[in-house]
């Protein structure tokens, strides 16, 4: 699976701010989610020049959503949100931000640099939705944010410390949280223990959707969710994109009732046909819509010398 540039964001069509844009041909500031990307060549428009054109030709006070791509974010590091932070006094209507909207040919997901988002979140108390792609260098303030309703972090290797900070953060308005945890080989490796506050349901009393996704420890997370208090308040749960097997699914089905959920997303999994049928027949008739798309077969590593003996051939959806 590969990540793509977003085409819709915060309910708005995405408009890439065109190079050398003619101010008269731009849409209304609040009608689109503004996406920024400059080419990688010396002859491409300079990032500072592009940004200045934007800030001089668009009424920033009306802008609702911004998406920052390359080179605001790339394999060399993050921190592109400083462009927004410096203009927070003008970006007074900004409600949604995507940091690091890069595709694979620009930078592999696990290479995309991020930074400490504390100053950025503090500068935008009105922020409602934040998407982050990449993980290297990411830090999230445990003090959280009063208004954030949606937080999505896409990573092939989310630093466990960052995941731990998000899990512990005070986010009282948060309704949707999606964390792509990623592989240890690419900087990930978050454990169940590190997400303990999240599983306990503390600090996020309005949470209705939780995605703990893209983890090589998905069986362990499934077992943890079987007894996790947070499940009670959720309308939907995603354990997708990971290495979920019959072991994890068995634990999940044997735990707290899931029948109050409207959706259970287990897509990209390693379940047997028998387990898929069992999950479906147990949950669907009670009103839980189950997504079992993306069944994978474990790779056979028996002939691969350099693979560890305990490698079971299961893999997450987005790694490098």
């Amino acid at each position: 699976m590969s990540v793509r540039h977003v085409e819709q964001f915060y309910g708005l069509p995405v408009r890439t701010f065109p190079p050398y844009a003619h101010p008269e041909e731009l849409p209304d500031p609040d009608a689109v989610a503004w996406r920024f990307q400059c080419g990688p060549y010396a002859t491409d428009e300079d990032v500072e020049v592009c940004w200045r054109r934007f800030t001089e030709s668009v009424e920033l006070e009306k802008v609702r959503a911004v998406i920052l791509g390359q080179p605001w974010y790339d394999a060399d590091g993050g921190g592109g949100e400083r462009f927004l932070t410096e203009l927070a006094y003008r970006l007074t209507a900004l409600e949604a931000v995507f940091l690091g909207d890069l595709e694979e040919d620009e930078a592999m997901v696990s290479w995309i640099g991020q930074s400490d988002l504390g100053p950025f979140l503090a500068a935008f108390p009105g922020l409602r939705e934040l998407h982050v792609r990449g993980g290297q260098g990411l830090a999230f303030p445990v003090t959280g944010h009063e208004g954030l309703r949606v937080l999505r972090v896409e990573s092939g290797g989310l630093p466990p410390e960052a995941a731990e900070q998000i899990a512990a953060a005070e986010l009282p308005a948060l309704e949707r949280l999606e964390l792509w945890l990623g592989d240890e080989d690419y900087g990930g490796g978050t454990t169940v223990a590190q997400l303990a506050p999240l599983l306990a349901g503390t600090g996020k009393q309005n949470l209705r959707h939780l995605g703990v996704q893209n983890s090589p420890l998905q069986d362990e997370f499934a077992a943890a969710f079987a007894t996790a208090p947070v499940v009670e308040r959720l309308a939907s749960l995603s354990l997708s994109m990971g290495t979920l097997s019959d072991t994890g699914a068995e634990a999940l089905l044997g735990g707290r009732p899931l029948t109050h959920l409207k959706e259970l997303d287990l897509s990209h999994h390693f379940l047997s046909h028998a387990m898929m049928l069992r999950i479906w027949t147990q949950l669907e008739p009670t009103g839980v819509r189950v997504n079992l798309i993306g069944r994978q077969e474990a790779e056979d590593y028996s002939d691969v010398d350099y693979m560890a003996d305990d490698a079971d051939g299961r893999y997450i959806a987005v790694a490098e």
Binding site: P18, P19, H22, G39, Y41, A42, W280, E284, L292
Partner: protein
């Protein structure tokens, strides 16, 4: 080798510093002083360029680049910066030389950066004594400013870039590519390229804007534009080819039937968005059944008409005699992940059952009846989800 000047006069320090700020780095007396430096020194000090030359000479700078004609009496800083295209955030880069004519890239880059029209930038540079590779017989550069000009003439981004020179022929394909890159209409790009003195293989016409709309590639678009402009579909196709599009719109009927517009519209409403020809997996059976319901035609009849316009069903498709809304709902659940050429696995059957409220067994049986392949040997349950 750089060294601190021996003189201390503030103006002397100013005119001998690279950035004209009176601080290091300094120009050494054994190097040639570019003409642009002389002009900017004049603009910075308020002296005439001639006075700057005289002072630099007195300070020991023997080699000063100067034009053949007379020097301007006075210059303004913003105007002079036209000769330094690499200036960024007030930091000067290389100065243009007098030894060779300036390129169109140079003129447009300076014009774009300073918000001037190409014609004004050209006039200013000529007035300073620079030569410009305008060639002979080209129309004058446009008097209107357009920041996209520099992007229009770039043909290769790599390295120092490749740039068009005036009088060059620009291919129709190149017009489409640059318009896509700059996010403007191909008609606007073509018109501006002509204004900048380039030759196109066609003369841009206002109708091109409409003809190239929606990418210009679908049969529905071609029929709709022909109807709107009062022209034959074949004329629209011919114009699209002139404009650089390789048309793969299927077979566009010269005289469309009344409900062709409905059949060719994705929403079955006779309007954009139009159906695109897919030569790999063919037209989706769901569209065909929806079209049958919308037009009252039999599915087989719709299939035949769509096939005549290039939208064919795969060979394994089996159409019901009568279109059924339940089939449409079922296919809506299946088609996002499976075409008729794909194997439909247990995961897809379960998903379709979830989304339609049918039992997996019912879903599997119906998909087989419609021609799908279900290779998994599974006992599909009869239980239904609570939709």
């Amino acid at each position: 080798m750089r060294r601190t000047p021996e003189f201390e006069d503030r103006d002397d320090l100013l005119i001998t510093s690279y950035q004209l700020r009176g601080s290091a780095p300094w120009r050494t007396s054994d190097e040639t002083v570019p003409y642009g430096h002389v002009l900017l020194a004049a603009a910075t000090t308020g002296w005439s360029p001639g006075a700057v030359v005289a002072r630099l000479t007195a300070l020991g700078y023997a080699e000063i680049e100067l034009p053949a004609g007379t020097l301007p009496v006075s210059v303004a800083r913003e105007d002079v910066l036209l000769a330094n295209t690499e200036v960024r955030d007030g930091h000067l880069g290389r100065w243009a030389g007098l030894g060779a004519p300036l390129t169109l890239r140079h003129v447009l880059q300076g014009a774009g950066r300073t918000g001037r029209s190409p014609a004004e930038a050209e006039r200013l540079l000529l007035s300073f004594g620079y030569q410009i590779g305008t060639g002979v017989g080209h129309p004058p550069l446009p008097e209107s400013a357009d920041p996209r000009d520099i992007g229009l003439i770039r043909t290769d981004a790599r390295g120092d870039g490749t740039w068009l020179e005036r009088g060059a022929e620009v291919s129709a394909r190149q017009v489409l590519d640059v318009a896509a890159e700059l996010g403007c209409s191909p008609y606007a790009a073509a018109g501006r390229l002509v204004a900048l003195g380039f030759r196109l293989p066609y003369t841009p016409e206002p109708e091109d804007e409409r003809i190239l709309g929606d990418g210009g590639r679908s049969g529905g678009h071609i029929l709709a534009v022909a109807r709107e402009l009062g022209r034959r579909p074949s004329e629209i196709v011919a114009r699209l080819r002139v404009l650089g599009l390789e048309i793969d719109a299927g077979t566009v009927p010269e005289t469309p039937e009344p409900d062709d517009f409905v059949l060719l519209s994705e929403e079955l409403d006779g309007r954009w968005p139009w159906l695109r020809v897919n030569r790999v997996v063919g037209v989706q059976p769901r569209h065909l059944l929806r079209a049958a319901l919308a037009t009252g035609r039999a599915p087989a009849d719709v299939a035949e008409r769509l096939a005549s316009m290039g939208h064919r069903l795969p060979g394994n498709a089996r159409l019901p005699e009568v279109a059924d809304a339940a089939d449409v709902r079922l296919l809506a659940a299946v088609e996002p992940t499976c075409s008729l050429l794909d194997n439909v696995h247990l995961e897809h059957v379960l998903r379709a059952a979830s989304l339609t409220g049918r039992s997996p067994a019912d879903v599997a049986e119906r998909l087989v009846a419609l021609g799908y392949r279900l290779p998994d040997e599974v006992a599909y349950p009869r239980v239904r989800g609570a939709l």
